[in-house]
Assembly symmetry: C2
Homo-oligomer: 344 residues x 2
DNA sequence: TTGTAAGCGTTATCAG
DNA sequence: CTGATAACGCTTACAA
């Protein structure tokens, strides 16, 4: 076995054919005789020939690859999105090259440059926390590389987007608490400046409004990053409110979990005294005690949708397809933490 | 802005220089005058030139990219390994292209072929569950592409490996139970045919032996895939054993969690009546009640190590570096589920 | 049905 | 210090 790899030229010499014939045979070009095609493929297999995609890509000006930028791969949500992206990209014949910004703007910018040099045919990205100005993505528009954001999307840059309907999800979560008999519902909210968390607050308020319940500001506890620890702090504060809340809608599962633990320690029964709804459907939510009612954020589906959208845009590029925003509907998963069954 | 991208040829024409000068200037070749270099770079920036990596790769016969095959990206362990791989690959100037086998042998084989065509310079893989014969990876040896397995490694194929010391981890987990006063320790084990789980059983037995405790076979409950549900079944069976076990070492966190829930329902106190140790350090283990003593599997570090090892082999390829097996030592994280403090 | 030859955008060798 | 020119391995008019 030689060290350097077999090329179509080698095959051509062996078979006394021209390299164009070999190339065509390998690609099942109809003008090549069945017999020749068969022979070529046979020899290719025998010699362990693998086409050099780099060369073919250069020639065809294609790479069959898409770039993905996420804040961190090891976050549950993102790993599921990536899984969805890889799954549909694979089926449609594309490779996925992945980068983490680790929430650093500097690194995010560097990665956009690498992606341009690598000549990926499209980019899927979720902005990092540091990124307020996302103009480094504008370059992709100029060079006509389709761009799809998911979850944390850009406001400055023309692009397609895949997001969940945070307002609707929060609305339904809160309405579920109301239907289950809660009348004094609190909310543990995310960062005040982040769109998705603002939308959740709005959805929460809208549901209260619809059912003629007061949206009392001191029932809303804002956090900076929805951490487990912040959840506990908020829950403790809620315990000092009178009358005591009988339901809490939390903007993620972490805070819901720590709130439940605080409430249990305070000898409150879940859901009888306080019902709790989370957001994200982390694996733990179906295991903890009580199991947690939560919103499934459809991460895998978001990834699939983003990849499908992106690849459609790649393949219809001449037609200059307009940007598109796809809103994914979430599911409310009802479990024990709200199981008070008065009204459904 | 023209549709087709700027090339070094364009720069050459604009500056009345030859393309070789441009190429050298762009690569900071010492033979090019400071002034010329500066001018070239300036124009490149102005025109938004990005070097075409494909062309350069073809010419240099390099791709600066490594391929990663995992069973599923969205499994906690793998997402952390991938994160570690990406992190060190990025720092060392490599891209990572990622594929899921989804535990399908057919897909795993297809992916190894894509990786060859893509001319990745090295491969990191974790075998899928279906894979018993891994000879499809042998091709990488023939064409001198460095190969590193992690976690589920190949027996048939010469390759480097990054694994954790399952025997040692199990030994220390079990010994910790003994030190904490347990004398009748059970084990919820993984699949009998899987190496890593066999090693955990051995470690468990060795620890008992060292402390002159009997390794009673009916204290070992085997599962097929260490699922949450299987854990509950095993725990219930352990409740029927006399005398009741006073400690359980579980081969993963899922089974530890469900076992604890079963024990709690049976009105046993954790850790006073039964102490429990898990394996993997899932996020839930620090949140549940009681918090779970467990083995941290160092997923991120495994990824980093695998990437470092691989890239070293890529860059020293001429020297034909031998395969290497790196065993990563795990940490025992002591939490409340074993906090009986008799002896440390 | 097959062959010839140009070219994709670089880098590298050799001259000057 | 700079320029011509030949590759890298493949695809694709155009010819035969």
């Amino acid at each position: 076995m030689t060290n350097s790899r077999i090329t179509i030229k080698d095959l051509a010499e062996r078979l006394n054919l021209s390299i164009s014939t070999i190339s065509r045979a390998l690609n099942d070009h109809p003008s090549i005789g069945k017999k020749t095609t068969k022979e070529v493929k046979k020899l290719a297999r025998e010699l362990g020939f693998t086409p050099n995609t780099m060369a073919s890509n250069l020639r065809r000006n294609k790479t069959q690859s898409i770039g993905v930028i996420v804040p961190r791969i090891d976050i549950h949500f993102h790993s599921h999105v990536i899984s969805g992206i890889e799954e549909t990209a694979y089926r449609l014949g594309y490779n996925v090259t992945i980068f983490q910004s680790r929430d650093s703007l500097e690194r995010e910018i560097a990665v956009t440059e690498i992606l341009q040099a690598k000549r990926v045919e499209g980019v899927i990205a979720c902005l990092g926390l540091e990124t307020t100005d996302s103009r480094h993505f504008a370059r992709f528009n100029e060079i006509k590389i389709p761009l799809v954001f998911y979850d944390r999307v850009s406001k400055d840059v023309e692009s397609s987007k895949v997001i969940i309907d945070d307002f609707d999800a929060a609305f339904r979560a809160t309405e579920h608490l109301i239907n289950t008999g809660c009348r004094n519902i609190a909310h543990i909210a995310g960062n005040r400046n982040t769109d998705i968390f603002k939308a959740r607050v709005k959805g929460y308020k809208a549901a209260l409004l619809k059912h003629d319940l007061e949206a009392n500001e001191n029932l809303i506890q804002y956090t900076s990053e929805l951490s487990y620890e912040e959840g506990a702090t908020c829950a403790k504060k809620l315990l000092t409110v009178t009358p005591l809340p009988d339901g809490v809608f939390c903007a993620n599962d972490n805070t819901a979990i720590s709130a439940i633990q605080v409430f249990k320690k305070a000898n409150l029964r879940i859901p009888e005294d306080i019902a709790v709804v989370g957001f994200s459907n982390y694996p733990i939510s179906s295991i903890m005690e009580p199991t947690l009612t939560t919103i499934d954020d459809r991460a895998f589906e978001m990834g699939q949708t983003a990849a499908k959208l992106l690849i459609r845009q790649i393949e219809d590029k001449d037609q200059n397809i307009a940007s598109e925003t796809i809103v994914i509907k979430t599911d409310l998963i009802v479990r024990d933490s709200t199981n008070r069954n008065p009204k459904g």
